[in-house]
Symmetry: C2
Subunit: 408 residues, 2 copies
């Protein structure tokens, strides 16, 4: 068998606390405003990608969660793959000692460790992982900021998944997008006890894709111009300061206000776009009620927990480690699960502490059982990881013939 | 029995197509933006008020829907009653021939012909009727514009219920509010075939009062400043033109956009305020789908029906006479009522015409039965009416002793 070049990597998802909504350039995915996110732990949620370059491969092929995607029909994939190959080509031209693998065809296999049913935007992790694993395969000398610029052309928010901790996507000004990239505001180690609780809402109806949705909002909402020009720039500065100071109260208020502002401009779109449903709104009310109750109980914090909602009904709660169990415990009482599908069974709750907070709250028990179909409790995480920079059957998603292994 | 002075009047409700949300002066009810509404027919919905002034009355008393209200404890009531009495006093001082009835105590009895359960803002009709009936009792020489300025001090939107047809509340600039009053944009006769269908949504949970809600929005929403300064002023001008031209397409689009803008700034409030629920949003989507279907069927109109939502989940649909039955018929299929509580039974639908539109629509049948508890179909109406300007037992709400008659 001829020499096989291969890399297998994982990349994390990220959940924005200042939302990306609106493109000024749809080809290059250049945004109308900067955004900021928290990278979540790959121990819980990640995309894994194997990239192989080998002389015996006949054509570029790519599989997503076991299903083949026709690369040529997917502009976002070709953007990233062509650019990475061009970067390798440049290296090889400047250094004859390097093997000429840029000319080899590629087999790429990518899979999420969480079901799409979880309703999490997987394209960010997916394109971050594709970019990072190709950079590893090709041994490119690009830093995370340069990589983020390339990942951005695949999926805007992917640029924020190339680093761990707290990451800002600076919108930039240049027409070619070369200054529209992600920068780490603070590492996971700077503020390690940030946790995220994802409440996956039971919701059948299909939603407007965020790509289409943000175009409609920019085209029809008068209010988004105010958000772009005045609301977000201040929120970005305030959020960076809050993270530097590990100021959870400020982090929480800016996060909740920005989520509200984002869904407000969606509602101002014509026709309006609604991503949150009655369950989502009940979570919002419960969070404000919970925070008020804790403050009334003498908590030093104004906010114990913050909500944020992406382009869907699922709630993501940010909370500090010390408060996570109590917050989820109270949620489990307000949004009860049926015996046979108890999504809360994996957690250890302190019933007495839960009762104390509930006694101070006014939120009624949500009338519908099983409002959530899944709970994911995770924490702030690190950036993409290299599992192998050569063929390694233990971690590779491709078998010896370059076909995807059976994924369960 | 001594001479009794009495007047009995009715006043209509109005539903804004450009919403009033935000006060620049809470004492005088001076708004942060102008608004515009359609006055609905008193034949269907009205407040009726009897005002009596007589020497044998011992104290000012007022009954609302059979329940006594302590006037002294209600700033909004005292504002209006004191001002009207002062106006009468002035007349009497300038003309000795007039009976001195300003010094007589007042008994006032007011009742709506629709249940509060209907979830319609009754304070507008209530304060309009109180002002108008006192003006009739006291035989004041005030025009509707002057009366609207007084009614406004009781309830802001009441000033728009003092005239029929299409009414603008110009916000004014003066600190004393003397230029913040309602003006008729067009009479009912100018555009008589405007109809309104009120879908009263089944909804248990109590909502934030609009008085408190609008204060929170002004205090905490960054986006409302853009609505106030830029969105509403243009919408007011465009809406006046649309009404002058009887241009339903423009009327409909401005109405729907303003409702969306209003609920967007509510969602941008911190904590957010949600008046619409999943049923309300399903109506919005159904209306856009219906309009698209009719356009696809070759309708000359871009919009056949428009929605608007006040500070609650109920939908108000504006539609021209020719389209009203088909619109409600389609609604009755998408939001089915159970046999035993068929709120649609009073209407005659053309099933074939309904099927033709439904065949072009993508909106699924709403999963929950009885999404609405009541349907009110009405039309544009006239201004307040004088039923009697002296004691008339046939119409009076007070008996000979000045106590409320048994209602119903």
């Amino acid at each position: 068998m001829l020499k096989v070049y291969e890399a297998t990597c994982t990349a994390p998802i990220n959940i924005a606390v200042i939302k990306y909504w609106g493109k000024r350039d749809t080809k290059l995915n250049l945004p109308t405003n900067s955004s900021l996110s928290v990278t979540l732990s790959q121990d819980d949620l990640h995309t894994k990608t194997t990239c192989r370059a080998a002389p015996e491969l006949k054509a570029d092929k790519l599989w997503l969660n076991g299903k083949e995607e026709i690369i040529a029909q997917n502009k976002r994939l070709t953007n990233v793959i062509n650019e990475m190959r061009a970067q390798r080509k440049k290296l090889e031209e400047n250094d004859n000692s390097l093997p000429k693998i840029a000319d080899y065809k590629l087999h790429i296999c990518s899979a999420n460790n969480f079901p799409t049913a979880a309703g999490l935007a997987s394209s960010a992790a997916g394109f971050a992982c594709l970019t990072f694993s190709l950079a590893t395969l090709y041994q490119l000398k690009l830093d995370n900021v340069e990589l983020s610029t390339i990942a951005r052309t695949g999926s805007g928010s992917a640029c924020r998944s190339l680093q761990g901790g707290y990451v800002a996507w600076e919108m930039g000004e240049k027409e070619d997008g070369s200054d529209s990239h992600a920068i780490q505001v603070a590492s996971r180690e700077h503020w390690p006890d940030m946790q995220a609780i994802i409440l996956v809402v039971n919701d059948a109806k299909k939603k407007t894709s965020s790509t289409l949705g943000m175009q409609h909002t920019v085209a029809t909402s008068p209010l988004i111009q105010h958000r772009i020009k005045h609301v977000v720039p201040k929120a970005m500065e305030d959020m960076k300061t809050a993270i530097q100071n590990k100021d959870f109260d400020s982090f929480a208020e800016i996060t909740m206000r920005d989520s509200n502002s984002f869904h407000a401009v969606c509602a101002d779109t014509f026709p309006p776009i609604y991503y949150m449903n009655d369950i989502s709104r009940a979570v919002v009310n419960a969070v404000h009620d919970y925070n008020a109750a804790k403050a009334a109980m003498g908590s030093a914090q104004k906010y114990t927990v913050a909500y944020t909602f992406d382009a869907g009904p699922n709630a993501v709660l940010y909370v500090q480690k010390k408060d996570a169990d109590n917050v989820l415990g109270v949620i489990s009482r307000i949004f009860p699960a049926a015996e046979d599908k108890n999504i809360y069974s994996g957690f250890n709750f302190n019933d007495q502490e839960i009762d104390e907070v509930l006694a101070k709250m006014n939120t009624p028990i949500y009338p519908q059982m099983n409002a959530f179909k899944r709970i994911i409790a995770t924490k702030v995480g690190d950036g993409p990881r290299v599992l192998a920079n050569e063929f390694n059957d233990e971690v590779s998603l491709l078998n010896a013939n370059g076909e995807p292994k059976e994924l369960l």
